[in-house]
Amino acid sequence: MIEVICNDRLGKKVRVKCNSDDTIGDLKKLIAAQTGTKAEKIILKKWYNIYKDNITLADYEIHDGMNIELYYQ
């Protein structure tokens, strides 16, 4: 289990526990459960790289404690 921190720089900062082999889509659902926005509306980015829904966290090399930027669609 790794813990990923998602920050939208407008006040919403959540720490989400997930597995390394979860996809970004699963991570978005976990974030949606914690924040209350719908999973389809969430965009996860790192600078200008938008993370795609069907690729796992391990493949994106997202490790424990990393920060991801949270945007909305």
Binding site: K38, E40, K41, I43, I50, K52, N54, Y72, Q73
Partner: protein
């Protein structure tokens, strides 16, 4: 300036009609090239021309959240608020399926529940294929009747939150709508004997006329006391029940489909008196308990 709703527009669901599409997506539509180039100064007639050129439906797509032309035209129609006749023409036209889809989507956004059911349900018979551009910028296959089904059942279609739609059985109970007649019913009836199917065809012709003033209640109020004290299974059949039983036997060859859930639940209750007896079980238990308690009290007093 260019993005303001036309002044005479009615408020839809209490707000500016453009606000039916959410702020973020609306901003993306205003910034996209299709809106700026093609949707500038469109009137109702020109919208028709643009709609005819549509090649696919879709919401937003791709990593940079690009809106599809379909969505841009939806927002444009919300901005200019065309008359209801125009929308009905969009829906009724047979030739262009994307124009039909556009009209149906707009009607779902701005129409009342009765209008939505009235105009969208005939489109269930359209089984043509459409292209749908999904979020990942890939095309998918969708049929027109599937799209209509999504509009009538889902809450969020093509990235637009749909306004609340009243349930069909509520409108049927209020006699604002007739119960749903599916085209498949005619196919089922074609398997039956010819004279029976003739009777039903006549009935369907009558039902297709505008809604009559009086229509029979389809549900039964189980809390109301029954009319006859004798149990239903012991009573002889009324002439109406006898004839309906006869028809139901031949129809049972096909799958039974009852159109209202109330009718289904009514069939499940085999005997009406089950309700009465279930509650009385507690009464018997309590009566025995009190009797035991009194008996023990007397025994203790005696000792």
């Amino acid at each position: 300036m260019a993005n303001r709703t036309v002044k005479e527009a009615p408020t839809i669901k209490g707000t500016n009609p453009q606000y039916l599409i959410e702020k973020i997506i609306r901003s993306r539509i205003y910034d996209c090239r299709y809106w700026k180039e093609d949707c500038f100064a469109l009137t109702a007639e020109l919208v028709v021309d643009k709609a005819v050129e549509l090649k696919y439906i879709g919401g937003v797509s791709g990593g940079n959240i690009r809106p599809t032309p379909f969505l841009c035209l939806v927002l444009k129609m919300l901005q200019i608020c065309p008359e209801k006749d125009i929308i009905v023409e969009f829906i009724k036209n047979e030739e262009f399926k994307y124009v039909r889809a556009l009209g149906a989507f707009y009607m779902r956004l701005v129409g009342t529940s009765v209008e939505i059911y009235k105009y969208l349900e005939p489109l269930y018979n359209d089984y043509r294929k459409m292209k749908l551009l999904n979020r990942d910028d890939k095309y998918e296959l969708l049929h027109v009747d599937e799209f209509i089904d999504l509009l009538l059942r889902e809450e969020r279609v093509l990235d637009v939150q749909l306004p609340r739609l009243q349930k069909r059985n509520v409108l049927e109970e209020n006699n604002q709508l007739e119960p749903r007649q599916s085209v498949l019913d005619e196919d089922i009836d074609d398997n039956e004997t010819s004279d029976e199917s003739d009777d039903e065809d006549e009935k369907k012709m009558k039902k297709k006329e505008p809604i009559p003033e009086k229509s029979k209640k389809k549900w039964k109020d189980l809390d109301k006391p029954e009319r006859s004290p004798s149990p239903r299974y012991a009573r002889s059949l009324s002439p109406r029940e006898k004839s309906s039983k006869k028809r139901r036997r031949s129809r049972s060859r096909s799958k039974s489909k009852s159109r209202s859930p109330a009718r289904d639940s009514r069939k499940k209750h085999s005997s009406r008196h089950e309700h009465r007896d279930r509650k009385d079980r507690d009464r018997d238990r309590d009566r025995d308990r009190d009797r035991d308690r009194d008996r023990d009290k007397e025994k203790r007093r005696r000792d």
